[in-house]
Structure formats: structure tokens, C-alpha cells
């Protein structure tokens, strides 16, 4: 059969509940969210022919394929870079469909990241820092007490914050906005629990004087899956198709995830700039054409760096952009409308990808009016999702 360029679309999303103790295996979480994504799309899990997850995910693709009764798996791969893989999985799935190599690609992330192990605590097993897990040169950090993602992220953000006079109070506005979104999202861990800027300022220091507790994402248990197929097939399935208009990844020289101290200018995020350049070019659109954005928010400063990297505002103007109310539901760029990784749950960014899908479908609990295009970004990778 001749292969030809095939447009890709997201046909299904599915998730488990987001909790602090799932009470079941990560493989079960993966199976449950995968089945839910297939049900949402209206396809049989037997017909999945591509499977993509994060290198750091513990669920085994063979066992997951066995759970789902997958008949013939044509493609598997894993994306490095911790949470940077979130949009990276969409990029890969799009490419496989575009190339005519897969028909139904399942992408997923499932973890007991609160009940079984905790990213936010000191490491108990340093083998996690071996290459392949793709989380950078962490072995160069640990003997100095830089043992958690917050410590790595803070060191990365400090020079940026210093250069532009960004205070922790400025960061608090991001946290307050996202918790406001979470407060009206029944799936969010912080449903009905909005915070004030004073609550933020009273939360304890994680990395003084940069990050407080409420600048950091949650630790969560849960699974999130997305089903990618051709636009044509998606049109015949249950949901309104969500086009993957474009997606890409960028890892510029000497850039790495989180322990990202070796590239030239630490006051910018070269990976986001690289993704932006390629992505805007690919889709023929720009920042002004996005009606909403889902931006990886492990820590609040990285939201600012991505806003600037993607050109929503100029370098150093992120804090004023936020202060202007841009990220609110009636702002220029409603952002992380599910509450983000701070407010909804930390499913390593995949739950933010799903919110991008809901905004295009028009089914978000915090629905933005007249949405045509949404940017989803996990820093090193990004995609533009669009209405059909």
C-alpha cells in the first residue's frame, strides 16, 4: 500500500481520577486511562497500532498492550526529558499518522507519583540519574544538595528573575490564577479551594527567595491518555475532531531538561524559542492567533519563560503580562484553564494536553469563548491544536 501524507487529529482523551493515593498499580492506571480514551473516541483498544509514552514511565508497553488486547502493534517509542515529553508524545503520534505508518496511536502517562515515590523529596535511588531517563545532568547537582526538581528549576530561574526584577510575589499571581481555574474544575485536586496572593506569600519557602510551596506543582497519582488518528477517520468517530495543526520539538545545543545551566543565556529558554520558531513557521500562525494556551507549569517562573519564548510578550515582560490579567478567562491568553499542574494534578503535563483538547472541543469546565487554536507546550516540545 502506498503511503501518503495524512493529516492527524486527536479523537479521544481519557483519564483516571487524580488523587494522592490511587490504591492500584501504575499499569492499571495506564490501562484504565487508555480504555477511557478509546471509549471517548469510539474505537476498540484492539485496533491501537502505535504506543508512545515517556522514558520515565514505569508501565511496560507489552503488558499494557496485553491489557488492551492490542492485535498488532506497528510502532512503539518513548520520549526523554521528563515532563518535556508531554507535547513530545503528540509530536511523535502526529508524525506517525502523517507518515501513514499508524492508524490509531495511543499516548499516555500513568504514575503513582505521590503514593509510591515522590519527585519533590530527596532521592532514595540515584540510579534514576542515569542517562536514558533524560532528565539532564542531575549527577552534577546531587552532592551539592540540589536534590529536587524545585532546586534545579530555581537555579535555572534565578538569573532571569534577577535580571528583570521578578519577585516571588509576581510569581504568586500565576499561582492564584491557576488555583482559581482549579476551584471550578471538579476533576482538580484543588476543586473549590482557591487561594489569595497572601496565602501564596504565607506558604513556606522551598527555594528561598525564589520558590514557595505554592509555586510548585503538586505530586499526584493518576493516568492520562490521548488517542491520535487521521483527521479523516476522526471525522467519523464519536467526538468533534481536534486537528493537530503542527507539532515539534527543539533541543538546542547545550540545553537540557531542568538542570539547564550550560547554554549561553540563562535568562531565556532556548528550547521554547526553538519550538516556537519551528511551530509558528509550520502552522503559518503566531502568538496572536492563539485563543488559549496550556503551558507546562512545574514551577511558576517557567510559565513566564515560556510565555516569552513563544512570543506572547517580549523578554522580561512576562510578569507584567500576567499582572495585566492576560491569563484569566477573559484575558488575552487564558492559560492552564484546568488549573494546570499546580491546581488540577501533576500527570507530568499530559493532563494539560487534554485540557487543550477540551478547549478546542468546547467542553472545558472553564471554556474560553470562540476558540479556534490552542498552544500546548511542555517547554522542549509544543503543538497547535485547532478546530476542524
Amino acid at each position: 500500500m502506498a503511503r501518503q501524507f495524512t493529516e492527524a487529529a486527536i479523537a479521544g482523551i481519557g483519564a483516571t481520577e487524580f488523587s494522592k493515593e490511587s490504591g492500584r498499580s501504575e499499569l492499571q492506571l495506564a490501562a484504565e486511562c487508555a480504555k477511557a480514551a478509546c471509549d471517548d473516541a469510539g474505537i476498540s483498544p484492539h485496533d491501537i497500532d502505535g504506543m508512545i509514552t515517556f522514558t520515565i514511565d514505569n508501565s511496560d508497553e507489552m503488558m499494557l498492550a496485553r491489557c488492551l488486547g492490542v492485535k498488532d502493534l506497528a510502532y512503539t517509542t518513548r520520549i526523554p526529558g521528563g515532563g518535556a515529553a508531554a507535547a513530545g508524545t503528540i509530536y511523535q503520534a502526529m508524525a506517525m499518522v502523517n507518515a501513514g505508518l499508524c492508524k490509531n496511536v495511543l499516548i499516555w502517562r500513568a504514575m503513582n507519583e505521590r503514593s509510591q515515590y515522590r519527585f519533590g523529596q530527596n532521592p532514595t535511588n540515584t540510579t534514576n540519574y542515569q542517562s536514558g531517563n533524560g532528565t539532564g545532568s542531575l549527577l552534577w547537582c546531587v552532592p551539592f544538595g540540589a536534590m529536587t526538581p524545585a532546586s534545579w528549576g530555581a537555579l535555572q530561574a534565578q538569573r532571569y528573575m534577577h535580571k528583570y526584577g521578578v519577585t516571588n510575589r509576581d510569581l504568586g499571581l500565576i499561582s492564584v490564577q491557576q488555583r482559581q481555574y482549579a476551584a471550578t474544575n471538579p476533576k482538580a485536586w484543588f476543586y473549590n479551594k482557591p487561594i489569595t496572593l497572601e496565602d501564596h506569600q504565607n506558604s513556606k519557602w522551598i527555594m528561598e527567595p525564589l520558590l514557595r510551596m505554592l509555586d510548585c506543582c503538586q505530586e499526584s497519582d493518576g493516568g492520562q491518555a490521548i488517542l491520535v488518528t487521521s483527521l479523516e477517520r476522526a471525522r467519523d468517530l464519536k467526538q468533534k475532531p481536534v486537528r493537530i495543526l503542527g507539532a515539534t520539538q527543539s533541543i538546542p545545543y547545550n540545553v537540557e531538561v531542568i538542570s539547564n545551566y550550560y547554554h549561553e543565556d540563562l535568562t531565556v529558554m532556548p528550547e521554547a524559542q526553538g519550538v516556537a520558531g519551528r511551530l509558528w513557521d509550520m502552522v503559518g500562525l503566531g502568538p496572536k492567533d492563539m485563543q488559549a494556551a496550556m503551558i507546562y507549569d512545574a514551577f511558576t517562573p517557567h510559565v513566564l519563560l515560556q510565555l516569552e519564548g513563544f512570543g506572547f510578550c517580549k523578554p522580561g515582560e512576562g510578569k507584567d503580562f500576567v499582572k495585566s490579567g492576560a491569563l484569566a478567562i477573559d484575558g488575552i491568553l487564558p492559560t492552564n484553564t484546568h488549573g494546570g499542574l499546580l491546581g488540577e494534578a501533576y500527570i507530568h503535563g499530559m493532563n494539560s494536553m487534554a485540557e487543550g483538547v477540551r478547549q478546542i472541543r468546547g467542553t472545558s469546565v472553564n471554556q474560553v469563548k470562540s476558540v479556534t487554536n490552542v498552544l500546548v507546550s511542555s517547554g522542549m516540545a509544543g503543538a497547535v491544536l485547532s478546530v476542524d
Partner: protein, 146 residues
């Protein structure tokens, strides 16, 4: 009759800092640090310094590498103090910093011998060494004396 025992000198407290994770490509660095040498890696052909250490030169692709003593001088490029969770192995919250070395590469380390609120951006610092568990040493940085 036995003579009264002299009170023994108090034993130096055992280091609690966790030792480095040593990979084959960075073995020279940590072995140097054990001997209080702060070593850098440069290309044996074109002379380019690189960090983190790696087997090939990204400029000329040479596999020849030289391990050379670095000046040990640099500037505090970014820093913060780790409050929560308290990092394992530290009695007091450490000042964690990215040091920009004179040779142009950067290195994550600690700033020691100075109060947290006295650290300023681009403050000149120089290398010194602190012990870890299992009899290793790691390079840390202290302010350059005026």
C-alpha cells in the same frame, strides 16, 4: 596502678554529604577532586573546554582529551538556598549555586563561608573542597578574600 587516661581529642565529625555519582566519562574529575584538584576537560586537538565532560569534542570531533587544572576562580551566576525538603546530608540549608568559571564553563556547587544574604550576583569566588561520605571530596566555592 594505671595512670589516668588523657581525654581523647574529639573525633572529627564524620562527613554526611552524599558522595558524587561517578560515571566513566567523569571519573578523572572526581578522582582529581579527591586529591583537591579542580580539573577541567579540554579538547586535545582544538583546545575547546567542555562541561559536562564527554568523550568527543563538539567542535572538531576529536576523541583526544586533556584533563587540565582549572584556575578554580569564577563568579556566582545564580544561587538559592534549599529550605524544603532539607537536602539530605546537610546540617544547615546549603547555598546552592551555578558558578561561571573563568574558563567559560559552568558548574553547580555550593557557596560556603558566607552568609546567605551576603551573596550577590556575579560575586567572585574560588574553589575549596569539602569531604563527603565514603572518603571523597567535592569542589565548593568561597568568596575571594579582598
Amino acid at each position: 596502678m594505671s595512670t589516668p587516661e588523657q581525654p581523647a581529642a574529639p573525633a572529627a565529625p564524620k562527613p554526611t554529604r552524599i558522595p558524587p555519582i561517578v560515571t566513566l566519562d567523569a571519573k578523572f574529575f572526581w578522582e582529581g577532586a579527591d586529591k583537591e584538584l579542580f580539573l577541567g576537560q579540554k579538547c586535545g586537538d582544538c583546545g575547546e573546554f567542555r562541561f559536562p565532560p564527554r568523550p568527543m569534542c563538539p567542535k572538531c570531533f576529536s576523541l583526544k582529551r586533556e584533563e587540565v587544572p582549572l584556575s578554580g576562580k569564577g563568579k556566582v551566576h545564580s544561587w538559592a538556598i534549599a529550605r524544603h525538603p532539607p537536602p539530605f546530608g546537610f546540617k544547615e540549608a546549603p547555598i546552592i549555586a551555578v558558578i561561571e568559571l573563568e574558563e567559560g564553563t559552568r558548574f553547580v556547587s555550593n557557596v560556603v563561608g558566607v552568609a546567605y544574604d551576603e551573596v550577590v550576583q556575579d560575586m567572585p569566588v574560588e574553589v575549596t573542597f569539602e569531604p563527603t561520605m565514603n572518603n571523597h571530596k567535592v569542589p565548593v566555592f568561597r568568596p575571594v578574600k579582598k
